[in-house]
Structure formats: C-alpha cells, structure tokens
C-alpha cells in the first residue's frame, strides 16, 4: 500500500519534470533545448545503429575495471590503517593529500606520465576513488568488536578464517557504503577521463556532440546512461545488500 503510493508519487513527479521540459522546449523553440520526443527519437536511432550500446559498454568496462581496482586496494589499505596505529599515523598525511588533489589533476598527470592509454585512464579513476574507500573502511576497521576478535583468538581461528568470517562481515556495511558512493563518483570521473584522452566511450561521445552543439544527442546519451546506472543499482547492488543482511532481524 505505502510502497505503491511511493512509486506513484515518484512516477508523478518524474512526469511533472517531463512536462516542464516539454513546456520549456516549446517556449524556447531552439535546438539547444530539443523536445523530449526529439531526444527519444535520437535515442532510439542510437540504439538501432548500435552506437549508444557500444559506447556505454566501453564506459561500463572502464567503470568495472577501475571500481574493482579501487575497492580491492582501498579496502586492504583501509583495514590495515584501521588496525595498525603506526601505519595509520604514517599514511594519514598521504591520505589527506590524495583526498584533496582535484580529480582533474590526477587525470592529467596519469595521461602525462603513463601515456594516453587504457592503463592511464583506469588508474586515474581508481586513484581518485581509493582515498574515499580507505577513509570509510578505516572507520569500519576501528569499530571492529573486540569481543569477536577475542573469541576468534581463544578458539584459534587462523588468519584467513578470522578475516573471512569474523572481520569482513563486520566491515560489510562499510564496504557497501563505499561501493555505493564510489560508483556514483566513478561514473562521473570516467566520463572526464574519456573526454580528455580516449577515442571511445560515453565521455568521448559527449565531447564530440558538444563540439557539434548536438544537445539532443547529449541528452539521449545522458538518459540512456542514467538508466543503465539505475539498473545496476537496483538489479545488482540492492539485491546483494539484501542478501548479505538477511541475518538481521
């Protein structure tokens, strides 16, 4: 009942946004603000000739690669820093530095140092994301329950078992939180990386369309992209989180 109601409200509010767009486009009467129907047609054409799926696919691959890299390195570093005070003190300065380096600077430097290639592109995105993951996971590792650690110690669980069954489940909410915010950040940075130094992907396409002042194309790409991101969120991240939380009352 309430769920249906919420969905209804959401649909209505999006419909209102669409209507506003329609009205604004009709008032402006210019190709810088095309009608929703025009954008829709461009999107359909883009899907038919395979251009939109191809570029979104390329971008998705980059997202997956840099996301995986950032999560693995960030989680490992975060746990290490949360558990080891010496390490934490030593790397804290680095962390603050990297947290504050603008994404654009990292991207430019990666392209300059590693060349205009895939390695530079993916590392640039990962380097932007790693510090956030580290900060979140460090909080989680600091909050580990010593009761469980002692239990693991008395019953002589080996390191691998302790990590997998005692430590990581406690960190899971922090991993999910950083994955969520991480994905949101990575989507955005990947486009900039593509715009600056790749010859395919959504970012590159947007750049090309911008040079042509093709706003309909830009909006078509944007909407398709947002849809894909939502599908991943609802279809992948949310079920994963529900599954991992099924033990909660």
């Amino acid at each position: 009942m309430t769920l249906h109601r919420r969905t209804l409200v959401q649909v209505l509010s999006l419909a209102l946004l669409l209507a506003l767009w329609q009205v604004a486009a009709m008032l402006v009467q210019d190709r810088v603000l095309p009608l929703p129907t025009v954008v829709f047609n461009v999107m359909v054409a883009g899907f038919q000739d395979g251009e939109i799926p191809y570029n979104i696919g390329i971008t998705l691959l980059r997202v997956v690669a840099s996301f995986a890299l950032a999560m693995v390195i960030g989680v490992a570093l975060g746990i290490a820093m949360g558990r080891n005070r010496g390490l934490d003190r030593f790397f804290d300065g680095w962390l603050i530095l990297f947290l504050n380096v603008p994404a654009l600077v990292t991207i430019i430097l990666c392209y300059v140092w590693f060349g205009l290639g895939e390695v530079a592109a993916i590392s640039a995105v990962a380097i932007n994301k790693i510090p956030n993951v580290v900060v979140t996971l460090r909080e989680g590792a600091r909050a580990l329950n010593p009761d469980y650690t002692e239990m693991a110690q008395v019953f002589r669980l080996d390191r691998a078992k302790t990590l997998r069954h005692v430590v990581l489940p406690q960190l899971f909410p922090f991993v999910i939180a950083s994955a969520r915010s991480g994905l949101a950040l990575i989507w955005k940075i990947v486009l900039v990386v593509e715009l600056l130094g790749r010859s395919n992907g959504v970012g590159f396409q947007l750049h090309t369309l911008f040079q042509l002042f093709d706003v309909a194309g830009i909006l078509a790409y944007t909407l398709a992209f947002v849809a894909v991101v939502q599908i991943i969120e609802v279809g992948l991240l949310q079920p994963l989180e529900r599954r991992a939380n099924r033990w909660r009352r």
């Binding site: 009761d147 469980y148 002692e150 239990m151 110690q153 008395v154 019953f155 002589r156 069954h165 033990w247």
Partner: protein
Amino acid sequence: MAPLTQFEIDIRQKLFPSVGAAPAHAALRDLQMNLRSSEFVCLLGPSGCGKTTLLNCIAGLDRDYDGRIVLPSVHGRAQPAIGYVFQNPRLLPWRTVAENVELVLDRTDGDRSQVEELLAATGLEPFRHTYPARLSLGLERRVALVRAFAIEPDLLLMDEPFVSLDEPTAQRLRLLLLRVWRDRPTTVVFVTHDLREAIQLADRLLLLSPAPGTVLAEVAIDIARDRRSDPAAIEDFRTRLIRENPLFHRDF
C-alpha cells in the same frame, strides 16, 4: 580419577597501568591454583575481584602479567585446546547456530557427528539454521556451550555463563552443563558469584578475595554427582559451609 596436576597457574601480580587520572589497579596478586585433570573448579568471588581478568590470562588473551601459567599440551596437540564460554555468548550474528559451531572446528576435526550429537543433546536441533538474533538469551548460551564443547577442549573456561537468566532457565542450563560434562569430561574453571551455583557444579571451590584477587579458601565439595540436582543437598552443604567458615559469611 588420579589427582594429577594438569595445569598450573601462578600469578604474582596482574596490574592494569594507570590511564589518565585513574591510578594503576592491581587486579590479581599472589594467586596460585593447580587444576587436576577433568576437575570442575569454581572460582567464587565478589564482582570486580579480577575473575574475568584471571580467565583472560589463562586463555592467553592477556599476557601482560607477572607470573607463570603452565598449560602443557594434551592428546598430542601442540597446545591444549581451550574452550571459552563468555559472559555474553559472543555468537557471530551473521552465522546460523550450526555455522557458529562449525566455525571453530578445524578442518582436521573430521568428526562433525560430534556437533550433531551436541546439538541434539542440548535441544538445539530445531534451531540449527536459526540466526542468533532470533534466539532467547538462554538458547544463545546453549549455543555458546555447544561451541566450547565442540572443539573437545582440554580446558574449559566459563565466565558467569548463566547470569541474568531467570532461575528456572539457569537451573536447566546447569543440569545440562553437568550432563554434557559427564559425557565429555574435561578440566573446567567456572567463575561465579553465586555460592549455591558453585556448590551444585564444582568438585572444588576456590574463594577469591576482593581486588587484588587471591585465593582465600579452598573447599572440596563431596556431594555425590547424582545428588547435584537435589536442592536440599546443596542447601545443607551451604549452611554447613557458612557455619564452619566465617569467610563465606558474606552475602553470596
């Protein structure tokens, strides 16, 4: 039962260093006890007398003490296996009852039928796939008991495992503990502040002083094992003990 000393505990001093304005705190001083093989020892003492600290030293969780704890290897194991039933059950909430027990088993402990037997003997069979959040405290404590026995411990440490339960539940769990222990004999150190509980369970009772904890008195409990469920036998023993030994004249 040969009265062979199996484990030796000799703590000259256990000091918690001062933190900020709080002065250093001596939790234990000159505390000696020897544990015989398959003996059930109860440590009785007022709260704050360092009972949990002592268990943590024996368990190896706290190594920062002055003294010596000798726990020789048993049954060809490199170190003795120690089972610990904590005051809070400390079950992992993301694992079911059976998964919590299985976690502490080595891959080499091939005998998983042990676990099945223990779950059946403690009435946990219907809850094997239940997550701890859905269990009552009494049931959670049964699981903690099963987990500790599942590793076939050479030494079993129990830290007030039945506090904050209603008396009938606590009594059921005590009898359950005695039954499981009878079938799987092992050396037990059981901490409590309840004199009746100590008399009901133990072969030997050690009375600890307020902090810094040391052994004030040692009492052998000679009530036959088959009369331990009889409240009158426990009460008789208690009355006699309090009359004969003024140290027990506290409000236990």
